[in-house]
Each structure stands twice: as structure tokens, then as C-alpha cells.
């Protein structure tokens, strides 16, 4: 009994302060509500500066905004700030705040709030910075009520991109409990949350930009991926964002299916430090042995984009389509390379795959078949996600693994940093002096074009050295019930609900 009371108290504590904020949560007519399925609850934190999981950030994207925000084409657009200037040495940024931006509690966004938020993400108030780049913020000065100046300890041309992440959202300085009381400036406010069940967003009527079309968005947590199709068909969900071809094939005519890409680099990642994969010829042989088109046809009916390096097409600036054609299936050549490397009869290889990602398991199964043709005897080892994280990713104790790697911010560095030989997250143990030199050079450059050229050269090295067997950026499908429209794909992992509108019934 005590526990029940405690639970009720917790729920009240969680929802009450939210309900007090100035959200226009009027009785919404049925057609302007939507129920969206998500895979997991926002378990990490409602504080945007502490959000870790991609699934949390995609929801909080609707509630919070930074000084800048990304648009669906990958550009940075001004949000809380109206414009900004960079000093010539790239060390100081001056942001001019937009007039009339208010928090969900009705208060105006002041320069002090911006200063508070930026110092908080930079780790100056006790938190650890979510991404290392935030630690570059050296000082934040309030010049006048509408102007904030940020000085950096080191120039970084990608700095504005970091500020566009949900992790750099502007939150009110007087909110002492951002973990549980989410107050942002986004098009929706978070009005209630039932742990492990749903999250309710309501349209923010005083939003500075184009107001959302829907008055209410309910994110329902559907932890069991296999029940998603049934929930959609049964009518308890109106939308689900990360579906596979197989799931889409089972939906009826009630849904429009939108095709996008997952913005992941799916590859057979190779541990470059273990024998025989430390030999570049062996890695190239694997690249020649794999038939990417066949993988796509078998696992996703040909949907998805074949890639050839650690970059996906949504990063159009850095993406090099020609690299995806660098290795095409060539069994004699692969065998020749293996012979040169001293493995004329092939070798055996273990492919570790996390058991909760069926698409990766499917890809691995096809690869196993294809590698047989060059005498490589591959075995699949399924492990739990946590084991994968600790042993394979952190411990680097594996031979090869099929996984998708994503980018957390809008620059090439997000994907290419991990192949620097000294990078903490270099789980493939890739090491190449030319690559390291380029990486060390690129982080000091300030000119955008030079940077892009540098990133492209890095991509080429990854392809030619066959760092990994790059496969695809997987296709992903969004199912949206026919009486809604307006879904937009982003190059980042976000669900922008403010663009979705109900279709007017004739």
C-alpha cells in the first residue's frame, strides 16, 4: 500500500508542475491528435542536456530548441537566435536572440537563460559535457538583453553544428529541476508522462515560428517490435517511424508508406588488429567477396543505398557515391588476394551480431553464404546488446561484427573521428598514418571547403585500405495513417511532429 501511495506521489510530482505551465491544452478535436509508437521510454532524462539515447532525442526534438536547429535538408537554421557572427579567427561567436521567443511557462527567453544553458552544456556548472566539443566553450558573456557572445578556447568551424543538437537546447535558468520538469521553446510542450506507457505533447500556442498543425501528439511506448504491425493494423497507433520492408509489407491500405534512409553506416566492421584481418589484402578480399546488391535484394527487397565508406548519402556535402562502386563482387580477384596473403584455402571468421537487431542478423546471414565462395568459413555469434556494447564495442574483443554506426551531429567528423588510431571509440582498431595526419589536420582547419576535401580524402583511405566491408545505409519506412500528411525525413535521428497535419476530410 505504501508503495502505491509512493507511486501515485511520484506520478503527481512528475506531471503536476508540467500541467501548470502555459500550454494551450484545450480539448483537442479528434482529427488533430495523433498516436505515435516509439520503442522505448525516455529513460535517461527529460533534461535535454543529459539525453543520451537516440530514441529520447527524437522525441525531445519537438520540445526543445537550441540557438540553431537543423532543417530537413541538413542545413542549420536559426531558432532561438535570429542570426550570428563569427570573429575572423573563429574563436568568438556573437548570437543575436530572436524577439518574442518564450518558454512553455510563458516567460521570455533572456540572454541570461542562454548563458545559463551554454555554461551548463559546457560542463561549467557540474555536469559532464555530452559531447567533447561543448567543452570548447570558454566563456559566455551577455552583451545586452538580446546579444550573447561565446568565446571558444579553440577554433572549430563545426561549432554551430554542435549548437543545433537537442543536447544544446536553451532552457530557463530558473528551472531547478530540468530532469523532471521539461520547459523548452519548441513547437510542443510535454504535458504529461506515464512512465513506460506514454508521453503526451500539446501544441505550444505561443510558439515563435510556424505553429504545429496537430494539437496533441501522444507517443506510445511499444517495447515489443513484433507487436508494432498489429498495433498499427488494429488502430491503436497512427504512425511508426522505424519500420523494415517486411513489416511494411504487412500493413494494409490504411497507411501511406514513406521511404527514407536510416542514416546509418551498416558494415561488416572488421577488427583490424586481429589475424588475419590485419592484412589489407585479406580485408580487400572480403570486400570483393561480398555482393552488396544481393544483400539488399535478400534482406530488404533491394531498398537501401549501397555505400563504400564511412559516410551516408544524407551528408551530401561529404558523400562520395563513386566509392560505393570501388569494390564489386569479383571472386577470382578475392581468391587471388587471399593467396597472396597466404590463405589460399580461406580461413574461419566469427561474426558477432547483437541479437536484438534483426536487420543486422539478416545481413550477416547473407554474408556468411557469400563468403563461402572464397573459402572463408564464417560463423555467426549472437550476443545480447549489453554484451555487444561491453565486449565488442568497448572491449574490442571480436573478429568482425555487423552493426550500423550513426552520426550524432551534422559534420563529417561525427562519422570519421572514430578511425583515428588514438580515438577512444575506434572499435575497429583501424590505424593508418596518412589517415591520422589528415584527421589531425582537419580539426585545425577553418575553411569549410578545405575541410570537406580533407574528409573526402579520409573516406577514400577507408575504402582503399578496406577498413571495413561497407554495405549500405539501410532503408527505413515510416507508416502514417492516410488521414495525416506532411512527414519529413531529417539527416539526423529526429521525428518532427510539427510538420504533420491532418488531411481535411472532403
Amino acid at each position: 500500500m505504501k508503495r502505491v501511495v509512493l507511486l501515485i506521489a511520484c506520478v503527481c510530482a512528475l506531471t503536476l508542475p508540467v500541467a501548470l505551465c502555459g500550454c494551450g491544452g484545450d480539448k483537442a478535436e479528434k482529427s488533430s491528435q495523433i498516436v505515435v509508437g516509439i520503442a522505448q521510454d525516455l529513460e535517461d532524462s527529460l533534461d535535454p542536456h543529459k539525453a543520451v539515447a537516440a530514441g529520447t532525442k527524437e522525441v525531445l526534438f519537438n520540445v526543445y530548441e537550441g540557438l540553431l536547429k537543423p532543417d530537413s535538408r541538413g542545413n542549420l537554421i536559426p531558432a532561438v537566435a535570429e542570426s550570428y557572427e563569427v570573429s575572423d579567427d573563429g574563436m568568438a561567436y556573437t548570437f543575436h536572440l530572436r524577439n518574442g521567443v518564450t518558454f512553455h511557462n510563458g516567460n521570455k527567453v533572456t540572454a541570461e537563460d542562454v548563458k545559463y544553458s551554454l555554461l551548463k552544456i559546457a560542463g561549467k556548472t557540474g555536469d559532464t559535457p555530452m559531447i567533447p566539443a561543448y567543452a570548447l566553450i570558454d566563456e559566455v558573456t551577455v552583451e545586452d538583453a538580446q546579444t550573447v557572445c561565446i568565446s571558444l578556447s579553440e577554433a572549430d568551424v563545426d561549432f554551430p553544428a554542435y549548437l543545433a543538437m537537442v543536447n544544446a537546447a536553451i532552457i530557463p535558468a530558473d528551472n531547478t529541476t530540468p530532469d523532471t520538469v521539461p520547459i523548452g521553446t519548441g513547437p510542443f510542450c510535454l504535458t504529461s508522462r506515464t512512465v513506460q506507457d506514454n508521453i503526451l505533447l500539446t501544441r505550444y500556442e505561443d510558439y515563435w515560428g510556424t505553429k504545429a498543425y496537430l494539437s496533441q501528439v501522444k507517443f506510445r511506448i511499444v517495447p515489443e517490435i513484433d507487436t508494432v504491425v498489429m498495433n498499427l493494423r488494429g488502430g491503436s497507433l497512427d504512425m511508426y517511424a522505424h519500420l523494415t520492408t517486411d513489416q511494411v509489407a504487412q500493413l494494409g491500405n490504411d497507411f501511406q508508406i514513406l521511404e527514407g534512409t536510416m542514416n546509418l553506416v551498416q558494415a561488416l566492421y572488421l577488427n583490424n588488429a586481429v589475424k588475419p584481418l590485419d592484412d589489407v589484402r585479406v580485408r580487400q578480399a572480403l570486400c570483393y567477396a561480398v555482393d552488396r546488391k544481393n544483400i539488399l535484394e535478400l534482406t530488404s527487397e533491394g531498398k537501401g543505398t549501397i555505400i563504400g565508406s564511412s559516410m551516408f548519402p544524407a551528408f551530401s556535402k561529404y558523400y562520395m557515391p563513386e566509392l560505393s562502386r570501388y569494390y564489386t563482387r569479383d571472386i577470382p580477384k578475392a581468391k587471388e588476394l587471399l593467396k597472396q596473403a597466404g590463405y589460399p584455402d580461406g580461413f574461419s571468421l566469427t561474426i558477432t551480431v547483437p541479437s536484438n537487431y534483426q536487420p543486422h542478423i539478416n545481413t550477416a546471414q547473407v554474408i556468411v553464404e557469400q563468403l563461402k565462395d572464397i573459402g572463408v568459413n564464417a560463423d555467426i555469434k549472437l550476443v545480447e546488446w549489453n554484451t555487444w556494447l561491453s565486449d565488442t564495442y568497448m572491449g574490442r574483443n571480436y573478429e568482425s561484427t555487423v552493426i550500423g554506426v550513426d552520426a550524432s551531429y551534422l559534420t563529417g567528423r561525427a562519422l570519421l573521428e572514430r578511425f583515428y588510431s588514438k580515438a577512444d571509440d575506434n572499435f575497429t582498431n583501424f590505424s593508418d598514418p596518412a589517415y591520422d595526419a589528415l584527421y589531425e589536420k582537419v580539426i585545425t582547419l577553418t575553411d569549410e571547403d578545405e575541410k570537406t576535401d580533407c574528409y573526402k580524402a579520409m573516406e577514400e583511405i577507408l575504402t582503399k585500405d578496406a577498413a571495413n566491408v561497407y554495405i549500405q545505409d539501410m532503408a527505413e519506412f515510416v507508416a502514417l495513417r492516410n488521414n495525416y500528411e506532411g512527414y519529413e525525413f531529417y539527416p539526423l535521428y529526429v521525428l518532427d511532429m510539427s510538420k504533420i497535419k491532418p488531411v481535411q476530410a472532403e
Binding site: 493494423r233 544481393n294 541479437s355 539478416n362 550477416a364 547473407v366 556468411v368 549472437l382
Partner: protein
């Protein structure tokens, strides 16, 4: 065993089991197609003259995979029960025959193991051993020990003071001889029926573990793994799941009938 009229149920059960053994042998000698070869053009193909039961999501022949899958599933079930029954027999015989302190200690330990849900316990053991066909056989075998130990213990307790045991004991036979040469043959019916039931439990347990992705590793085939694959195509191609499901039901039904028939046979 004396010659006596066997019931209809026994004949049905035996013929079902014979069918299963025939399927396994067929799969051993040759399958219609290589169960691992993929073919894009046959992705989720419906049944046809070439592919009697159709093809799965990679265009692999379902019939071939079922033939191999039944074998995998049965081998796992067999291995599991051999491990479970062997260790269970040792524990049950010792505790049931001697009683006393050994009984107390071993049985409390037994109770402790039994109090874990079997799936959870298998998960723990698999976490230690890693996943794979042999690993789940061992894990499930260990999980099956307590229930065998319990059944065998109660049989031994029942028998240990019976007249024939007393007589052998008076003739000076040692404990081991009494336990395994005199008592064991007399509890064979109980042992046999529990083996057959255990077989079914093992089939279901394999299915559950493979379903969770920690049992048999793809691209190998087992009924549980195929069922978990098929589930993703439940609406698009219900035949796939139904076919695999049918074979699993058939397998379990046959052994359930057999166990019933054996028991009735013993009482008749």
C-alpha cells in the same frame, strides 16, 4: 515385457514417431535442396512442385530447412534429457535410497534450483557459456536435472523398503548393486514416461530460447529459430509460420501420445 495387446493409442503414437524418425533420416541422407543456399528470385515463394512447402525470406527451401531443423531440435532435446536424466538419476538414487543428511542437503539445493524459472536459469547459464547449439543443450540439461532428481528420488524412496529389496539386502548385496541393478529396472516405466515428457519440454524450451535469439545460431536451422523468423511474415505469408508450427505441434503431439500410451501400457 510380456506379450500383451497394445491399445490403439500406442499404435498411433508409434506410427507418428516413426514418421518423425523417417523425416530425420530423410534429412540425414539428402535434403531436396541445400538448406543454406539463398536465392533472391525465390524470396518468400509459395509452395510449388519444385519447393513443396515454399521458400523463406532468403529464398531457402522450407522443406529442406524443416528436415534439418527437426534433426537439430531433436538432437538438442535428446542431449538435454540425457544430461538431465543421468545427473538426475544419480542425485535421485542417492538421496532416495539413503535419505538422511545427503538427502536433506541435495534436496534443498535441488529446491533452490527448481525455484528459478527455467528460462531464467537457462539464460544465466547461457550467459556464462555463450550461445550456440551445444551451449543450450548443456544449459537446458542442467535446468532439467532437478525435476528428474525429484521423480527418481520418490521412486527410490518407495522401493527401498520393499520386500524384494530387503531380501537382496539380506543376501548381502551392496548399495550400488541394489540401486542400479535391482531398483532401477523396476522404475523404468516412470523413467521412460518422464523422459518422453522431458523431450517435449526440451522441444518447447529450445523453441523459446531460439526465439529469444540465444539458442541455435543462424544460418543453422531449428524449428524454434524458423518459427521466430516466420513470425515477422505472419501477415505477408502465414503459410510459413503455420508449416513450421504444424511440424512442432506434430512433434510434441507424437511424443505426448507416446508417453500416455507407455503409461497405460504399464498399468494394463
Amino acid at each position: 515385457m510380456r506379450n500383451k495387446k497394445r491399445g490403439l493409442q500406442f499404435h498411433i503414437a508409434i506410427s507418428f514417431v516413426a514418421v518423425i524418425i523417417a523425416l530425420v533420416l530423410w534429412g540425414l541422407i539428402r535434403t531436396p535442396y541445400d538448406p543454406k543456399v539463398m536465392d533472391v528470385s525465390l524470396k518468400l515463394a509459395k509452395s510449388s512442385a519444385d519447393h513443396l512447402l515454399g521458400c523463406d525470406q532468403f529464398g531457402r527451401d522450407i522443406l529442406s530447412r524443416i528436415l534439418v531443423g527437426i534433426r537439430t531440435t531433436l538432437m538438442i532435446a535428446l542431449g538435454t534429457n540425457l544430461i538431465g536424466a543421468f545427473i538426475g538419476l544419480l542425485v535421485g538414487a542417492v538421496t532416495g535410497y539413503f535419505g538422511g543428511l545427503a538427502d536433506e542437503v541435495l534436496m534443498r539445493f535441488n529446491d533452490a534450483v527448481l525455484s528459478f524459472p527455467s528460462i531464467l536459469l537457462s539464460l544465466v547459464i547461457i550467459a556464462l557459456l555463450g550461445s550456440g547449439t551445444y551451449q543450450i543443450t548443456i544449459a537446458m540439461g542442467i535446468v532439467f536435472v532437478p525435476s528428474y532428481a525429484r521423480i527418481i528420488r520418490s521412486e527410490f524412496m518407495k522401493c527401498r523398503n520393499m520386500d524384494y529389496v530387503q531380501s537382496v539386502r539380506l543376501m548381502g548385496a551392496g548399495a550400488l548393486r541394489i540401486m542400479f541393478i535391482h531398483i532401477l529396472p523396476n522404475i523404468r516405466v516412470t523413467l521412460l514416461t518422464s523422459l518422453v515428457i522431458g523431450f517435449n519440454n526440451a522441444v518447447l524450451c529450445e523453441a523459446a530460447l531460439s526465439f529469444l535469439g540465444i539458442g541455435v545460431q543462424p544460418p543453422q536451422a531449428s524449428l524454434g529459430l524458423m518459427l521466430s523468423d516466420a513470425q515477422a511474415y505472419l501477415f505477408a505469408r502465414p503459410g510459413y509460420a503455420l508449416t513450421v508450427g504444424f511440424f512442432m505441434v506434430f512433434l510434441i503431439l507424437s511424443f505426448a501420445l507416446l508417453s500416455d500410451a507407455l503409461r497405460e501400457d504399464a498399468h494394463a
